[in-house]
Symmetry: C2
Subunit: 280 residues, 2 copies
Amino acid sequence: MRSPAQNAQLALLLELSGTPKPGNVDRRHEYNDLRFEHFMAGAVGSTPGLLLAQQGAAVGRAFERGVVGMAEQRGGNTQFGALLLLVPLVQAASADSETALTPEPIEEIVHATTVEDACDFYRAFEHVDVGVDDPPPELTALDVRRGARAASTLRERGLTLFDVMELSADVDGVAREWTEAFPRSFRAADWIEAGDGPISDRAADAYLRLLASEPDTFVVKRHDHATAEEVVERAQAALDGTITADDLATEFIRREINPGTTADITAAALFLALEQGVSV
Amino acid sequence: MRSPAQNAQLALLLELSGTPKPGNVDRRHEYNDLRFEHFMAGAVGSTPGLLLAQQGAAVGRAFERGVVGMAEQRGGNTQFGALLLLVPLVQAASADSETALTPEPIEEIVHATTVEDACDFYRAFEHVDVGVDDPPPELTALDVRRGARAASTLRERGLTLFDVMELSADVDGVAREWTEAFPRSFRAADWIEAGDGPISDRAADAYLRLLASEPDTFVVKRHDHATAEEVVERAQAALDGTITADDLATEFIRREINPGTTADITAAALFLALEQGVSV
């Protein structure tokens, strides 16, 4: 039986193999400088971090170690957000492998994170260029791009990793999963579980449904709110069949509209589905 | 830095992502019952075996453990031959991580295999349905499909895993790599290293060159010599540009001509190339 760390790795790979996932890299779509193989190398490289999470290491440390390995390829940031979701999920799944994974133990894990976890999280930004916006003025000292230099501020203010996630939950869909006990990840896992056909097709469907359900915060950061709203509408149109998801994929790649947060949540959903026993 | 076990896993995934690889499953081609995602799950599942090889466990034991994990998906045999090549390579790379991998230490490892390694190799056939032919009459007691039941014969005759490989080197291209110190794997690794462009494109090129260089023994087993010779000629035509590799891929999939041995050797070559420092 695959371990939680293996299921997490497989989730990263299955997220990648589902196609079409409009705007994101998949088997049939890639960017010139961000290619399919970069994601494969990212998934393989992140293994030591996922194994640490499985062994019960601190969330921040496991995450930072995962990011170091993930970054060992030339595509840049491939799975930063997905790892941030997967690390607490792997830890929860490993702590109790007998019962099905529910939001409660995950909530406990994220609430129990410490200031040191927050420092490790910041340190992870030193290994890879993550697309982020300028923080509001009162949070300049906590700009993630400060990396390890933010540690003194984190310690002074006693901010845990959970606190840090709360600070950005309004503008970051991954942080919001953390603070709300992974509602979209669980919902999409149910869709994947209830579907039929190959699991990567079901993952692509789940991605499209997530995309149509709310604005992708990575698109908001890289483009703007209007573009993110347009993405929601177009994804809904693809679900309704008035446009094809394939055409949407081609167009979004051309416009470099890359709904990364939705892909991250799809990976988390795949992990939960695999842990729930969905077979490949 | 990726460990040898991680490079082996990445080699399995990159072999998969190179396209087109006429007749084999890749990003754009799959069979209804043998799909892209089965290979991904196979690569993830084989990790514990690759880790055993990295830790210096016996070749047979590491291989069998890899196959058990590989088989945990619904596609059946995805990477049996590739793992048989990768296990001694991973062991050699792990024993001496300072110097570049050469044929000599690998030769030592395969020559040092024992009767117990042979027994574990036979046991591996119990976990997955591997396409093999009937053995010649004098070797019926050593039919791999006997699995663990062949152990007494192996012990009586004192046959090591290397001996077993010698017995089938004439009819099996993976066994021949073992007995001849991996010549085609090293040659294709050089092609991959010397090439440019994305590593998965270079892997697809190496696959085609291997395919054009000698008959694929898996095609001989599943079809016949004439078909395997035809595959060589058509692969050469694709290299010459008189047909496209894409057309060949579509045709071979339709005819279920699946040159698995060539794919296995491509995975071994990718591992060697990654160990030689080719970056992704």
